[in-house]
Each structure stands twice: as structure tokens, then as C-alpha cells.
Symmetry: C2
Subunit: 157 residues, 2 copies
Amino acid sequence: MPIESDIKQNIPFKSPYQRLAVNLMYTANWLSDNQMRVLRPFCLTPQQYNVLRILRGQYPTPITVLAITERMVDKMSNASRLVDKLLAKELVKRSECPHDRRAVDVLITEVGLTLLTRIDELPELRGESLHNLTEAEANQVSALLDKLRGSEQIGNE
Amino acid sequence: MPIESDIKQNIPFKSPYQRLAVNLMYTANWLSDNQMRVLRPFCLTPQQYNVLRILRGQYPTPITVLAITERMVDKMSNASRLVDKLLAKELVKRSECPHDRRAVDVLITEVGLTLLTRIDELPELRGESLHNLTEAEANQVSALLDKLRGSEQIGNE
DNA sequence: TTTAAATAAATGTCGTTACATTAAATACAG
DNA sequence: CTGTATTTAATGTAACGACATTTATTTAAA
């Protein structure tokens, strides 16, 4: 369904760019709603899930709260409080960073890893909700989104 | 800059779909941050701006709160309270709908229309932040996003 | 008509977000 | 070293979001 129908818009967009801006926001909301619905039974928000995956990416190396923030999809989130939430569920461990006592090292626990494994198997989070596109189309959109944001393309895969 | 660098990801995505999912969310956040920054001087949130544009689209016909909700990019917003905010700034007027006393008609004021005109001139909101893409590419991404969401394509412009 | 169901908007709530501030530790200039 | 600036995380806050409930009105049924 074209974006115009989704938002019941009866006047045309002023430009392909404006249409794309609305379409992007709308599609991201759509995707995020899907994610929320799927994660709810696990008592995880999309952002908590994001933090867990970041921690798994580094496992078994712990990383600091700051490093988590830099890697998050939503940079505005308060990683400190997200870690609090995950700590309460015993999905992560927190320990003082040996080299810098300001920093706090965070490490995903076995429980956290196991939970992630279960979630990984959900088709919705393997990107299945995007399977209306072919792999080639998915790659194409990703490349165009990169181009959209990127000031300059620096030779790169 | 490819999404992997933006989120400092050092392990590859499991599939083009997963990469696209992250890329979509990341790009939408990027866009929404841009919008917020631009709208802040006008004391408008992106959603309030969205409501104002919807109202302008119908002007001079008033539309109900429910109709606003259906047209919003973020369907989860509380249109009722958004209208409250806009009312406090005298950007909209609220009046009882003549045919249905449950419903409330909302109409953008002259002040609101003038404000929108000023904002329209901002390059960032004319989609300029998306000008790294050509018009053709913007159309291409829009079409693919429609395809991504849409269960079925029903013949349509 | 009287009552029950459905609908539109407003409101209550609790958790989260955005953003500023604080507290603690480190870096670094003199 | 000493003091100042910077960095890292945590915390305070006001507003916002998601979601349930309430109120008022309309629709439809008995």
C-alpha cells in the first residue's frame, strides 16, 4: 500500500523527498511496532534488546556504558538506565572498569545469552517482516539509506 | 557512511534483511533528530507539526480528532492532547462537531497557517536533508518501502 | 421507549525520553 | 604536585508515550 493511502493523504507530496521523509518515518514506526509486539512476551523493549545484542557482539569482553551508547541505534536512549533495567532482570552484570574508575564495564550474563538465543529464533526478528523484498532489494534500500545519510561515501564495502 | 560504521558494528549482519531493519530504524532516528532540531525554535514537536500539516491539508474544512489520528505518521500519538498543545498556542481552534456531539472539529487558525508558511521555507523540511539522493532514487526508495510494508500491491499511482 | 452496545474524545497512569545537572575520576597545564 | 578542565556515569525533571479507563453521545435492539 503506498504511503499516501496509509496516511489517507489526499493532496500530493510537494516532492519525492518529502514523500520519502514521511515514508521513512512511517515505515520505521511500523517496524518498531512489530518489534515491540514480538518482544513484549519477553519483557524487553526494543532498546533493551538492542543493548543485549551489542553486549553479545563483544562477548566475552565487557564494554562500558559509553561504548554501548555509541553503538545504539537510538543514540538518545539513556544507556545507564537501560542497563539498570537489564541488571534487575539479571541479564547483565556490571563491574568497575579496571583501567578507569569512572567507567563501568557491562557484560551479558549466561541468562542474557540464553534469552537472546531464544529470541533469535523468532522469524519476526530475523527480518522476516521485511521479506516482501528480495535480498537484492533489501541491499539496494540499505545502500540508498547509507547514501541518504552519508555526507560523503568513503570507499567501503 | 554505511550503517555498520555508524553503529560501530564489528560483526556482520546475519542477513540483508537484518541490516535493513537496523538501517531503517537508524535512518528514521537520524531524520527525526534533524526535524526536532529544526522545529525547536518554533516550539513545535514533529508530531505537532504533523497535525498542523494535516489540518492545512483539509483547510478550510475542519476535521475531527479521530480523522487526525488516522492521518498521522505516528498512529500511537494522542491526538487529543496534541490538539490541546496547539490550542494553547492558538494555532488551532476547536469546536463541537454539528452532526455528532461526541466528535470535536479542529481547524487550523490563521496564525497556524502563517507559522506553517514560514516553516515550509526551511530547506531542511522541504526534504533538503535527503538531497544526497537524486529524485529518481528517492522515488525508488519510497516504492521499495511501500513494497516492504504492503502485503499486496493494489494497482495505484 | 428503555436499555445495551458502540463510538469519540478526554483523562489517568506509569514508564520512558530528552535534556540538564551532578558526582566522581582522570587528564593535563602550569 | 595543584588546580582546572574534561570525561564517564548516574540522577533529577518535565514532558511525552503507550495503554487502560472514563464520560458523553449515538446507534441499535428489545
